[in-house]
Amino acid sequence: MLKTYEYPKFAYRQSDEQRTGKPKRHQAVVIGAGPIGLTAALDFARHGIETVVIDDSDTVSIGSRAVCYAKRPLEVWDRLGCGDRLVAKGVSWKVGKVFFRDRLSYQFDLLPEADHKMPAMINLQQYYLEQYLIDEISRRNGVELRWKHKLLSLKQADDHVVLTVEAPDGVFTMEADWVIACDGANSDTRRMVDAKFTGQSFQDRFLIADIVMKAEFPAERWFWFDPPFHRNQSALLHKQADDVWRLDFQLGWDADPEEEKKPEKIIPRVRAMLGDDREFELEWASIYQFACRRVDNFRYGRVLFAGDAAHQVSPFGARGANTGVSDIDNLGWKLKLVMDGDAPLALIDSYNEERAFAADDNLLNSTRSTDFITPKSPASRRFRDAVLELAEDNAFARPLVNSGRLSTPTPYVHSSLNTPDEAPFGGRMAPGTNCDDAPVSSDGRRGWFLNTVGDGFVVLTFGGAPAQREIPFGNIGARVAVVGRDLIDAEGVLASRYDGQQGTTYLIRPDQHVAARWREFDPAKIRKALARAVAA
């Protein structure tokens, strides 16, 4: 098979604590150096949490795997310093085509909303994502990656966790105030704490393959329902970086995974998909079976679950990695405030409250896509086929076609950290919602709103000239940013997205989510909302 990518090999190093036999108490130990574990490491480093990541391999993801990254995770990675690099390397697609049997049912244009720094989504092989995150980590202090380290067991103490870890030089002990399990859908950590991981598993298998195709082929997403080259199943084709294309074939339950993975079995399929005369080479192929399930609690004592270790969804709609990044976005600042004694332990429990809610929303969306793509009964299949046949000539049926919905963050609308509105607001920036970006300038330079917000508490207020530069609560300070003074909203996009009238004031959390909003700047109310946002 061809190689467009050289897998790096990261050196194993014996740690001081293994060499000396004296366990060191770390603030955070992250299990697993996948996209979520690495994002956690970067985010924790930014918050000043001393972190060690352990991983039993010594390289990045083998194969393209996750592929699709949506706007919100890109915004998080931008805050962590690698947004531009990911977007530059990634591939954006706008046109999607839906085929039913031998016909083009219809095509659509994503028409992404203007005035956001980050695109609606990019396609990029997972190994590039991990490589870029690792590069960024190597530039940070206070975070250490330990390759070839495998967690064997853990024991919870009152205020820390004792980890038994195996490395090439033998078994040794580490200690951590908090353990963050990012070790994927088959998480060993989850088994070690006896967490329940329940839901629905599907009797279906998928073949995923990366092919290299140098010839001109449009950068579009093509989805086939019941195509002539793969009857009664579905198939997906989309572009990644380096002329690598990703193919997903639904195989059905009766297929033999080992047989289907053989190049002589894959190549004729791809030929039928692309047309016979196109030249391509197979780079990587894998088989997977998916399930929709989640852990019953994201926190077990001092062990916290994130990413696929906490929730597993179907691949339709690219919700796995995207929602995992939002887990970390939610967790990092809470962990820091609790570690520093600036917020009660209840703030950590709000991680479960908010992210379990989001996981359930993702599971619902992903189950709906699955029911459309792989109908579970003859009646369900008839409705699916009726929608697809109608869609060709009837625009009304197209919104019913579900080949995976673009992953968008779930607003924490019922979160106990929110302060409910007292006045009516237009737009979508309700408490619990992630902040929309907008072009703004500050210090005479054009830039983006989310970059100016950063990762601390911010009080955003439209107009006026409040005397306070900061609203304090205990050791926490919310920085006051005045639109018209500290940042200039020349195009009015910010005011429009936030329904920003004179006096309108938002309290924004460190994860760039709205905690509260009012029609006037009232320090007493802001203080109260700030206390509530840290579960105090």
Partner: protein, 69 residues
């Protein structure tokens, strides 16, 4: 607007005949597919989720139509 459950179709015999005639020459599977399309076209025309929910409930046998007894 609640689901219209009083008789609302002009010339009911004519409508019924039209419906049956439209599937007279179809095989079972084709007629079933056509029925699905018909449901989707009419559902889109109605649009109102409350009305559709009530109709789905009644069609599923979850209660008699109001005004029937």
């Amino acid at each position: 607007m609640p689901l219209q459950t009083r008789a609302n179709i002009a010339d009911p015999d004519g409508f019924y005949q039209e419906l049956i005639d439209s599937q007279r020459d179809l095989r079972e599977g084709e007629a079933e597919l056509m029925n699905c399309k018909l449901v989707l076209i009419l559902a889109n025309h109605i649009g109102d989720r409350e009305v559709l929910r009530e109709a789905i409930k009644i069609a599923g046998g979850a209660g008699a139509m109001r005004g029937n007894r």
